[in-house]
Amino acid sequence: MPCGWSGKILYIDLSSESFYVEDTANYKAFIGGRGINQWLLFKIMNKDTGPLDSKSAIILGAGPFVGTLVPGANRLSVDFKNVITNGVGSGNCGGQFAAEMKFAGYDYIVIYGKAEKPVYLYIVNDSVYFRDASFLWGKDTWETETIIKQRENDEALKTLAIGVGGENLVKFSCLIGDRGRAVGYGGSGAVFGSKKLKAIAVRGTLPVKIYDPEGFIDKLKDFNQTIENSDHVAIHREGGTLLAYLNPGQDRPHEVKNMSDDFWSNEAISCVTRDKFDRYLKRRHSCFNCPVYCSGIYEVKGLKCEGVQANTLRAFGSNLDLRSPEKILHANALANLYGLDVDQTSAVISWATECFENGIINENDTGGIQLKWGNGDSLLKMIENIALRRGFGNILAEGVHEASKIIGRGSDKYAVLVKKNSIMEAAMRSARAWALGVVTSTKGAGHLRGAPAIEMKKISPEISSRIFGIDDISDPRAYKYKAKLVTWQEFYKAVIDIMGICALITMWMDTNLYTTEDIADFYRLVTGEELSPEELLTTGEKIQNIERAFNLLHAGFDRKDDMPPDKFISIPVSDGVYKGDKIDLDKWNEMLDEYYICHNWDKISGRPTKECLEKLGLGEIIETLHNNNILL
């Protein structure tokens, strides 16, 4: 058995209820996690195969660090064809599932085909069981795990499940791991639902070996000291991402009322601070082997959920101008139980609310539901209607892009989209690298590719120069140098996802955590393979290019799809320290030019160049694009 990797890829055909395995080592050039996932996806998926077709594949991947004591290495990468954009579908969750998969002997599980009737998979080491899941259809994600544990008489198994949202093919439904960890963005839940796959339960009893145990433990203890010394870690331990996010109050940019503003007042924020959620907190909770333990188990109105994170607050708080901790938490619980992506659920409801407030739709459209800013009861009703595809919820279940076409009446004016995907991010008008990273994200508008949170941490020029090779990134509003920072972050984030580390405890937010040297050290000690920090980043670049090519091939995305929505260009921040901020389109285009140059992509089209792909050893991609009449 290799060190670090479990060594096997498990392929499961739901149509024939059969499976086979392949050696992970066949794909070593892409290392692991999101890297191998994306390469397999590119090879498997035909351009003409729709995301919900039976031939479509969805790939679960755990990197070489997962299942070891490398701190925070617990992430499960899930990659597939995006249900909303047709391009890259990609999500990533913490929790327990990825490690258990490794203990069962698998680095990857590739699922394709379609079951005749609802099934769940029960995987125990070498055994794969196809179980009837008819009795689970209609159950929420929490119940699903509970029932599977009871039926298999196995309290140690871990689950990845869909709720009613995925069953009903809601386009932004997601997978929920371990009852509370969401694989957000892209509609992974709908992909499972289309295959009649309710859940995967996995249980492993096999070891994950490492190459140099003594050297590893020395490195681990040393790195743990860095973690203990981090202020960033300390605040997340104290109150999770919500405390860290809201700490500056109104002096940080927010996302407000369907992304119409970045200013949310201290008066509003005082209603939803971290401590206001404490009365619902049952206990603090951690993902597998995480030294930050930023999560919690909450109970509201008899419903349990994991949370409450900064994303929850942005999605169901500021973006809907809702100031009730109970309603925000309740909405989060419903999203978890129905298996809906919190961000995209908020996006479509906030878009509909803006349409309602401006008279484009009314009670006749919504079935009597008053979609007003700050109306928590309407929010809860609409979440349920979306999951069940009931009434107006059936339209919203298509996502903002499709729903605005169905409604018409100029409703697209309020759609805040990039690559057909809704943007749900703070600071789009004030932080240039952040905005560029969000907009160019291969998964369709989001902060988990090239958007560097470090841009807002006032890094000194000395540190910036030493780490990023960039003179100064301390002013978020400045456009200069930001394309280079985004490019670095993209490659680095790909490395993080390849290894399976949680982004929260990396250089994304704290330059002392998981430097590329740290990752190279752990990689050598875990696997016995040598890769320099530069070689690691080149592997990250390779993954970024695979995704860019996938988007070009499957969705036709290029430069025209790397533009910010009009709201960020035409509506400035209304108040506070960022008052007046917005995106300058000319400067954006200059920054975008520089971004393409940093990647060695074509400046006019934004497409990868032949030279770039050849240099990265991706000649097969050039051939595939050529065969589909895309000439670089």
Partner: protein, 79 residues
């Protein structure tokens, strides 16, 4: 020399670092199934902690599970 391990349920957040540490101390690899401490999550997501009555991991210093627990939730003494 045997060691008695106690996990403080009020401090534990269920990260299961102890499971990895224990199995590593035994066999230099990672396998929760081989750990003397097991953490489960029940139907209500409460923690259920199982500890083998006595371990034999005390060598030169304290057990690795005690050393690596980020919450200092594990204590031990020799018996």
């Amino acid at each position: 020399m045997k060691v008695q391990i106690i996990v403080d349920k009020n401090k534990c957040v269920g990260c299961r670092t102890c499971e990895l540490a224990c199995s590593f101390q035994k066999s230099k690899d990672f396998n929760p199934d081989n750990s003397n401490i097991r953490i489960y999550f029940d139907d209500e997501s409460n923690l259920k902690i199982k500890v083998n009555a006595q371990c034999d991991c005390m060598k030169a210093h304290q057990p690795l599970c005690v050393e690596l627990c980020p919450l200092d939730a594990i204590s031990c003494w020799t018996v």
